[in-house]
């Protein structure tokens, strides 16, 4: 018994280490370039963008993938973080000299405020399901950015000027280090949450809310918990954004950006953290290169090319013709190979999940979007279709 459980710990550790490794690899890439002097401003900015995209995608994955609620308001939480973080950073920088300290303090302020709104948005989610909740969160995102747009204190339609607190300067580009550090902390917290009894409760609610209630799971608590944690990290990402670009403009946090985050989650697979990280990296890069490399007439086609790339990725990730290729060279095959090298053991049987705790990222990654959207609103209808066998002795 003892030996078995030791084995489990080994097993699941490997799985979540992969996620840390990807983020660390990006960080190390940036650091190496920095110390060899090859780090260009544009690449440092790309790394920061990848960093906060990862934070946004993985935190949204908690709500969409693990809790199973469709939220289209993630940019709204980011917006709160960006405006509040930028505003308070402007204030704090009058008193505190260290930019780092200001950044950390405003992250806490922005994150907490965003999570307060996460709590408020989580409340209707207790009664609304599927597309209804999607509409509410969508409206929330729009309302938030329009409120900020109309506040003089936050710069009105011009956007909040955060030029004073920009973290990166021409010869000191370190914001990406902090961003990836935050991403690592977020991975630690979220993965630990997901792979615990609380994560089990959250996935139980996704799988069958009625049964979860009947098992004594406090559905209210866990739905709110997921929303609060996710919106906290979205707020933190917003604060990073405020330190990354100026002015903080309400136009950035539009419906489109919420969808873009959702696309990262869906591409990576719902309930699959590794997938979210890779998809966030990929989409950020595609966006970045399309923005910076296309010029002249091609620039007008940016969104068209972006759409084509997305379609290509989706086809690639699902096409049956490509399956044998993926089985040989895909990521899961690669990780299996590494594992075999490390362990030299049992043949891989996809039906058997590794000992429970490791299985959090083997949850089928593709929840049917249709099923998610057409959730039964009133599943409590009395079901009295008893069996047909009615003999009395």
């Amino acid at each position: 018994m003892r030996k078995l459980s030791n084995n489990t710990k080994y097993d699941f550790k490997f799985k979540y280490l992969v996620n840390y490794c990807i983020v660390l690899a990006l960080l190390v890439l940036g650091l190496v370039l920095m110390f060899t002097g090859g780090l260009k401003m544009s690449f440092a900015r790309l790394l920061t963008q990848i960093g906060f995209s990862i934070i946004l995608a993985v935190s949204l994955n908690l709500v969409v993938g693990f809790l199973g609620e469709l939220s289209l308001g993630h940019a709204g939480f980011m917006c709160i973080g960006a405006y509040i973080g930028g505003f308070s950073a402007n204030l704090l920088s009058n008193y505190i000299g260290s930019k780092f300290l200001v950044l950390v303090l405003t992250m806490i302020i922005g994150g907490v405020l965003a999570s307060v709104f996460g709590f408020i948005i989580g409340l209707p989610s207790l009664r609304l399901k599927g597309d209804y909740l999607a509409i509410v969160t969508l409206a929330f995102g729009e309302i938030v950015r329009n409120i900020f747009k109309n506040q003089k204190a936050f710069g009105g339609a011009m956007g909040l000027s955060t030029g004073r607190i920009q973290y990166d300067s021409r010869n000191n580009m370190t914001l990406f280090i902090i961003t990836f550090a935050i991403a690592l902390i977020m991975l630690f917290v979220l993965q630990n949450l997901v792979r615990s009894k609380h994560g089990r409760a959250i996935t139980a609610i996704r799988d069958n809310e009625i049964a979860a209630k009947a098992m004594g799971i406090n559905v209210t608590f866990y739905k709110l918990l997921a929303f609060i944690v996710a919106s906290f990290f979205a707020g933190v990402a917003g604060v990073i954004y405020a330190h990354y670009t100026t002015p903080v403009s309400y136009t950035f946090f539009s419906y489109n950006y919420s969808i873009e985050i959702l696309v990262m989650v869906v591409l990576g697979g719902m309930g699959n953290i590794t997938g979210s990280i890779i998809a966030a990296t990929l989409i950020s890069c595609v966006n970045f290169f399309l923005q910076s490399r296309l010029s002249g007439d091609l620039a007008a086609l940016r969104y068209l090319i972006y759409a084509l790339v997305l379609i290509f990725i989706i086809i690639f990730s699902n096409a049956p013709a490509l399956r044998p290729f993926k089985e040989k060279y895909g990521i899961s095959a690669l990780s299996e190979k590494i594992k075999k090298l490390l362990k030299k053991s049992k043949p891989f049987n996809p039906a058997v999940i590794k000992e429970d705790e490791g299985s959090w990222d083997r949850i089928p990654t593709k929840i049917d979007m249709d099923a998610l959207l057409s959730t039964d609103i009133n599943p409590d209808t009395p079901d009295e279709q008893e069996g047909a066998d009615k003999k009395s002795d």
Binding site: M1, S5, V189, N192, L193, S196, K197, H198, G199, R200, A201, T203, A204, R206, D207, N208, I210, A211, A212, K213, A214, M215, G216, I217, N218, V219, L225, A351, V352, I353, K354, E355, D356, E357, S359, I363, P364, D380, P382, D383, E384, Q385, E386, G387, D389, K390, K391, S392, D393
Partner: protein, 270 residues
């Protein structure tokens, strides 16, 4: 007089579930009306009746899915009427579902672990889990052992790492019972546990139910259509028809009651 009161208290102490005039109606339909059931501790009680008689409605009332319009029910002397589902479960009523409701995308052992979620001995806050404090590891380790123990009662410990949806139908039913038992209930409600099972599986299930009752000292209320199973294990029965109690009492008496036979098989034409 004092003796009488004493006796009444004694008998109250021995009663696990008591419903008083429990009833609910949907629009004009009285789905359950004036249901009075008393279940003694460690008793195996059956609830039968034709289609649409309101058996599952009674389960839904007892587990808080519906709030009763009339009447009350007491578990071990405690009034639980109108409480929320999760509260009722924590107070000690666990159920299975007629149409199986497992957590299909989770492994078998995880299903049971969800059932163990509220056990006071495995307490651990989200904060402790997020930051991996010692209590997290401790409680997870012990929960896992307990879950394996429960699965072994049903002979499922070999399948514990399969996805729940990949189990056979009979095993899924068993897993549902194991999951309900994991919540450490005082009263177990089984909604047609033998539905869809072949005779051999049913016989096996009968053994398991008896085992749960005798070895784990469980009080069980069960809905069933398989009369062999009902006659074989239930001590007392309540027969429902059109939402009302048709007959109540010892199993053999009830099954020979002409009203019950009429309700099930219909009346002779002549």
């Amino acid at each position: 007089m004092a003796n009488n009161v004493m006796q009444k208290e004694m008998s109250d102490n021995n009663i696990m579930l008591k419903t008083e005039h429990l009833g609910i109606s949907f629009g004009g339909l009285k789905a359950a009306h004036d249901i009075n059931i008393e279940i003694r501790k460690n008793q195996l009680y059956g609830l039968i009746g034709p289609n649409g008689a309101g058996k599952t409605t009674v389960f839904n009332l007892l587990t808080g899915v519906y709030t009763p319009l009339t009447g009350k029910f007491y578990l071990d002397g405690e009034d639980l009427t109108g409480q929320r589902q999760e509260i009722i479960n924590r107070k000690g009523i666990a159920r299975t579902f007629q149409n199986i409701r497992l957590f299909n995308n989770m492994s078998v052992i995880r299903n049971v672990l969800v059932g163990l979620h509220n056990s006071p001995e495995y307490k651990c806050t989200p904060f402790e889990s997020m930051f991996r404090l010692p209590r997290h590891f401790d409680s997870e380790e012990r929960m896992r052992d307990r879950a394996k123990e429960l699965l072994s009662i049903f002979g499922l410990e070999e399948e514990r790492n399969l996805l729940a949806c990949n189990l056979s139908y009979g095993n899924q039913r068993k897993l549902e019972i194991a999951r309900a038992l994991a919540t450490n209930p005082k009263l177990l409600l089984l909604d047609e546990p033998a539905a869809g099972m072949n005779p051999q599986e049913t016989a096996e299930l009968m053994k398991t139910i008896k085992f749960i009752k005798n070895e784990l000292n469980m009080t069980i209320l069960l809905i069933e259509h398989d009369m062999k199973l009902v006659a074989g294990i239930c001590e007392e029965l309540t027969v429902l028809n059109f939402g009302e109690v048709l007959a109540q009492g010892k199993t053999s008496d009830v099954l020979n009651n002409p009203d019950v036979i009429t309700a099930y098989l219909g009346q002779d034409e002549d």
